[in-house]
Symmetry: C3
Subunit: 666 residues, 3 copies
């Protein structure tokens, strides 16, 4: 059987970190857990090349040998994201210089990915590890680097590269001055080589251009790795990478906490997907009473939408942080949720808990004592189910009619021009996404550069602050042809250089939305339809639009808060302020109705996700995100692939607490 | 008509920042708004000198030309507060070194104002711009630099200058050791040239002396600019500068918020006023439901008191921050409030909202779309009123009987020796000032170095921690002759070197105040006359004073909190702790009564400000700082210059919400 | 009379800091206050050596002369903890490089204690001051340095020393890699000289080893000073030092606040005690309504336990911070509390309040005006009592049956692997210690390296995270022989290299505790016996242990929270989570009962501390930590040494608010 044919199930395995001999015992326990794959080697350069030029793959070899013996596939990682100390000794400039100064040796991801010394040794190492393992038959693919980002590289040499990159984008320096508005506070220059290091800039346009260039460097780095690996790759092997998200953290320094939050500002997933043949990702989220499935769904919808393909969850949490010890049933619910979004595999991070280092309390499946435990026991159960159901549910195809548009450039732009100090771009993205998710209105999450909107009936723009010049035309056309758009405050404000437009807002779309505004303020004791307005309010003046709701306030009551406009065959909603989740859901449901999209009767904590199986059958994933048993009515005749029970149309499925059913329609 | 004869009304105008051709349209809109003046050029060095030594004044010229054509005056700024990047390339030491390290290029006000390279190029630029524009007939004055301060300049060369400056103040190094108490923790030295860079000092006296030297450098820098400009100046032209205040901010980094708060620690207004022929200032404050007029009154009283002259408000807010969009009527109320404090003009910052740079959301009169809007419309109304009333109300003369004494040195001293971590000097200054303001007890705000107290009947000392040695004698004399003084806790504690006095407190004034103390603590569950004591409490032991109120507390009840002493012909009040605003007002009213000062029956939100017009008539400004219409009884017969309605004595004027009346007494 | 025969009573005295001539007056006031000792000179290097190599001991001499004249002893300090500026000019590397960069000149304790230039000049100074004063008959001892710690020294030369130190601890570099788990994230090296500067490390084991090395440097520095001083010392003179504690602070930068909190991470008291012949310490704590006596008892129990000897309180607060002005009676209560823990003397910091420098508002006995005040008056009373009672109560011997085990290494380990971001190691230590204190269960506070447990019946381990390999065996033996142990969560988890053990937890003690666990999480809505569980909960699986209490929670209810196990002749308690103080006290009382320890009927705010006087009589110190008069029943016949009143058995002593009685049993 080929790996493509079954659901990948496994964990990261670090034999190099073991405090004692465990290999044979671990392999047996993994087989017992239903694993078919392990991921190795992505952070152990110093072990694999203890002296410059002297390689030692003994750990790699014995793990691949043992995996082969036990029937496990292996994904081999290139170890380039954690550099050995000797490399820093050879060239201290291997350590990245960020706007906060030079990094210190110790952590991973602290190198300058443009540094030639780093690139030279990294390339030699990539060629060594790939050529050494590529012909092992159980090696199914390679992971290049890990959670790659630009790491804030911003030294003076990077400024020179940035100047040259700008020179490929602009014909003259006058164009640069004008595009970024550098006359402000005496920042204009007369030669490209005079453009300053952006570390101290007060110009958001210049800063966002630099951030875009930093992302470009990370994308270029990945493509470079990918091209090296491709020289060796067998046709049946894949290249993947571990895309992660903007991370939301809460803790004191030294605390490990947070979760996979939103659109990643430090590399563009859409651009860098080109370096991969299989999209990979990691998703971490709260569990226990805070498990909602939102992060799993959001990450999955974004990854799947990159190329409308299935993707591999390279890291999913096992025990993780102290507050994340899952309740019984939760790991299983999470695994099926990944599947329901189109994942072709789930791998845990990691097999065992580490006895040293900063991730010692980012726990794996096994605790520090290597004993079986409730988490391991549940993974054994999941493994058996995956093995049994793999043919039926692997390779799920999804076709959604709603798209939610996100923008990497806007993440940065709104850090410079925040809507409110307590409200970031990803808060607004999640505010809208989560409402859709909870309403069981499935959507694709697409990037602003993605232009094929032909599959969609409704497109949503949460805070699309920075837009490409041509987008307004596309939106006009989409609505004219009958589509529904739904945009929030601070959309269509600035151009791709983050220069604020100087025509009426929303830029070039006042006809489509049938309104305009040029004043906005913060709501204080302002309500909309009885609900408090928060953070930001635009004082909308409808022209042709219907004022769905006005503000309630002594001075602002004459302005609309929400408008809806019929433009040619379509409809355009605009939300000028932030309201409660419930109020937002009302408007989204109304807009979905405008778009002719069927609304589910169930909503969160019951989540229903749909897709088409490889056999061409419609699958309904029923996911119970609550600690109560809940009866759920299914709208079709079908069979629960898990219990094998057959249900008549409109019969109720009893979902147990944190329970799952997968209904294959008859 | 000369500019001196009319009220200056206008805005800052930056043609250099325009994203499109707007000049003619802008001029028309400004004339329509009743403007007579624009301010240009104070931050556009890189545009005016794109290459070292190569000047380009085309923007300046066409704006002056167009202004002339439209009958507008122009104030030309020297662009020295934002350096071009080429200047930093020529000499990286142009960037200031502060105690936090070297500044990065990008922001304004990041240069070392003592750096000779900077001074050389700045001087050449000042001479170029001034000589180029000085003979234009509509150029009425020059603004030198902008919001000048010392920018924390603290490099090693500044230490050398500091050592030499100290050498001019002290005869021997032993005197320095003694004045600052450098023996403490081994900080004493034996030669002036051994005095260390103050960046790491733990000696508040040494640090405050350095801060004073830093202020001196800023004052010297302004005087140097002023002298250069004076070489070219026509007799009918003025030199001004933009004095600002300690800024109170709240936001996260990258947020622009805060307001004009209090006494400026980074330049001494009193000293540096010498560099100006017309005092200028900018004042920013909360609006909407938080508009109180306090900041306008405080800033105005301080500016006017610098030389008992009228002053120009070079920057007043238009739309400003998102939360500062004014309610209808508020801009007008604010403009009249400036007038009521003695302003001879109000200019907005700025004409249009910027499309790039860090102040893009510090909005001007026009939004990013350049369209008329409610703020512009209101300014048009104000403009018409100003034009009509200019003869009547411009050049208001004020004569107050109360002075409130502030100290730049004390701002710094109390940062070293804070009363409470949540209470800064300017909090206490505003606590007292605001109480007076709300009671309609008008005062001058004078500096501690200002010795002519002959106009006053009552002098107030909020936290005058650091005092010049001779001040005690002056106070004694003032009280002896019949004056009333009112001092708060932590006044008269340390000498001018911020060395704590070692005699009984209040230093050299125990006879005048009739009490002493040498213990103090923080109040916890302590009340004074039923009101909670906060932050700090001195345990006062009256000798001849009347204990107006004792503390209520199990152990501290035997000590007085507030004392009043009759000393010769006068009275001396002392407040040993911080109480509620209402309680403070009680004591201030009682003290005003002691001083024979008439008390107003109205209080905030109705503000009454008085003055004498150029025609010699008494004007009463009635200002309604509330969203309610309020009838106000005027104590004289007179005419409202705005409505032209005539009122009999004790007749009621109905002030509309945020409304204004200007009563000219018959 | 020799100093050893009487209770040392006095203050730090800094003639060098005086703003005026005060010596004779001060001496008279000190004699009046009952002082017998002053401490001088520990921070005035720049005064004593104004030029390199040129000494000036005139201040020292005249103070010793005057003290001699007035019958006062003198403790002379070496001034090495505050360097003169000329020393930094001679070698800028005298300033310490920490992980945050190079220190700036100004503060004390900012030098690199390994720097040879510093050591050279320090040694010359030590020899000069000691040889100059050692033969003065009223000099009773020397204090070497002051509050010595490692000051974070972490420059590249310190890394080289650290590499060499590790080479003395490990045979091969492979052992280092394995002990610290350096394979993680590519941190392994192949030569000792390749081990990186730990400033950037993400390896807690490596970081803790470096912290241990830093402490070793501080200990070595003290021993070096001690050996120099010993070359000169008379047999009747002592060498002491000023041990302080981890400091808990709250304030904004520039605020001086906080208190003596817990185990000191920056020097090991147990190791460095070897450099002293008389243990010295300073203890600062809240007063007024927050005076509890905890810090005095904890510090005293720790200091006394270092060598089972009496110790000198070198610094106790007088007026100190503004919020610490003591209520009448509190200073006296504090002085007797020091005595009750085994102090052989109390010295105040300091005599007078300073007129300059960062400690100006860390006030002494006299305020800035040098006048008598209520604090001075109370110290006069204490002085008289001490003089009268000295023979009776000085040199108290204590013999406690309970030991509480603390670990310097664990302080650091738990900063890397915190139980909760709001809970530090010293919080847990104080949680347990304070419960004992309030129950009047007196204990010794011993270090984890202290192996003689023969005196104890009960040993308590709060969060003993990092343990030496042999400790488990010692504990097993202690319990087997009939002892009671009481351990909290996160004890016995990691080895001395802070590597987490890979066997079952608690490491090597599952038989003794009769339980194990390998899962833990954060409690959310979890109770134990009706009380909220906080911060951390281990899911305990009893084997032979009694589950004293299980968690109450939907999913975790099957696990024990508290267990008790009978192991051979003894008992082992284990507490898997943090509970209320009251709940902890229940368990501690039960465990004390298991250990056969008599429980007091009184508890805080009445504190009862016991000891044996030099005359061999049992003394009971009754301390009233409340503002109420409280009758206390004494369980024996005796005489109150203070009032001289004789009490019958079970007669009640009426303790006045903040009052004291010292009952000498008949």
């Amino acid at each position: 059987m080929r790996y493509q044919d079954k659901f990948i199930f496994g964990a990261a395995y670090y034999e190099e970190y073991m405090p004692c001999e465990r290999l044979e015992e671990d392999m047996k326990m993994m087989v017992e857990a239903g694993f078919n794959t392990i991921r190795i080697g992505e952070s152990t350069w110093s072990v694999e090349e203890p002296f410059p030029g002297s390689y030692d793959f003994s750990h790699i070899d014995r793990v691949i040998d043992s995996a082969e013996h036990h029937g496990l596939y292996v994904i081999v990682g290139t170890p380039t994201y954690a550099v050995p100390h000797w490399l820093v000794q050879l060239d201290p400039d291997v350590l990245v210089t960020t706007k906060d100064g030079k990094a210190k040796y110790g952590a991973r991801q602290n190198m300058d990915i443009t540094n030639p010394t780093y690139r030279f040794y990294a390339e030699r190492m990539i060629r060594a590890i790939v050529s050494h393992t590529v012909n092992r038959k159980n090696v199914i693919g390679f992971q290049i680097d890990n959670e790659t980002k630009h790491y804030g590289t911003a030294g003076d040499k990077v400024t020179i590269l940035f100047q040259r990159w700008l020179q490929t984008k602009f014909k003259t320096i006058e164009e640069v001055n004008e595009a970024f508005g550098l006359n402000y506070w005496s920042n204009s220059v007369t030669r490209f080589e005079d453009l300053p290091n952006p570390a101290g800039t007060i110009n958001g346009s210049y800063a966002c251009a630099f951030a875009k260039f930093q992302r470009y460097m990370a994308e270029d780095f990945l493509m470079w790795q990918s091209n090296i690996v491709k020289e060796y790759l067998r046709p049946d092997q894949f290249i993947t990478q571990n895309f992660d998200y903007e991370w939301k953290s809460f803790g004191a320094p030294g605390q490990q906490d947070g979760y996979s939050w939103g659109v990643q500002p430090d590399i563009c997933h859409w651009h860098s997907a080109k370096a991969m043949t299989l999209i990979g990702t990691d998703i971490y989220c709260f569990v226990q009473d805070k498990l909602t499935g939102r992060e799993i769904a959001f990450g999955g919808d974004l990854m799947r939408s990159l190329r409308k393909e299935n993707y591999l969850v390279l890291e999913s949490q096992a025990q993780a942080f102290a507050d994340w010890l899952p309740y019984p049933g939760q790991l299983r619910l999470m695994a099926f949720s990944h599947l329901a979004s189109g994942a072709c595999g789930v791998m845990y991070w990691n097999w065992h808990s580490l006895h040293n280092g900063i991730e010692s309390y980012w726990k794996g499946i096994l605790g520090h004592d290597f004993e079986p435990n409730p988490v391991y026991d549940e993974i054994c159960l999941i493994g058996k189910e995956m093995r049994r159901l793999s043919d039926k549910i692997n390779g799920l195809k999804k076709k959604n009619r709603i798209a939610l548009v996100v923008s990497t450039n806007t993440v940065n732009a709104l850090k410079w021009f925040p809507t409110h100090k307590a409200l970031q771009y990803n808060d607004v993205v999640h505010w809208v996404y989560d409402a859709l998710y909870e309403l069981n209105l499935e959507c694709d999450v697409i990037f602003a550069q993605e232009w094929d909107w032909s599959d969609y009936d409704m497109i949503i723009f949460p805070e699309l602050y920075s837009m490409h010049g041509s987008m307004a035309g596309r939106i006009r056309e989409f609505v004219a042809r009958g589509g529904t758009v739904f945009a929030t405050f601070r959309s269509f404000v600035a151009d791709k250089h983050v220069k604020i437009y100087h025509d009426r807002l929303p830029h070039d779309l006042t006809d489509v939305f049938g309104m305009t505004y040029n004043q906005y303020t913060r709501p204080v004791n302002v309500t909309v339809g009885g609900v408090e307005a928060k953070y930001w309010m635009e004082l909308l003046n409808p022209t042709s639009a219907i004022p769905v709701e006005n503000y309630t306030h002594g001075y602002w009551g004459k302005y609309a808060a929400v408008t809806k406009n019929h433009y040619e065959k379509g409809t355009a909603w605009y939300l000028g302020t932030m309201l409660s989740d419930e109020k937002l859901k009302e408007y989204l449901l109304a807009a979905a109705k405008d778009a002719g999209i069927e609304v589910q009767s169930q909503c969160w904590p019951i989540i229903i996700r749909n897709g088409i199986s490889q056999e061409g059958k419609r699958l309904q994933f029923l996911l119970n995100y609550s600690n109560q048993n809940v009866p759920v009515c299914i709208g079709c005749q079908g069979r629960d692939l898990i219990s094998n029970k057959i249900y008549k149309k409109n019969e109720e499925v009893l979902l147990m607490e944190w329970g799952v059913a997968v209904i294959e329609e008859a």
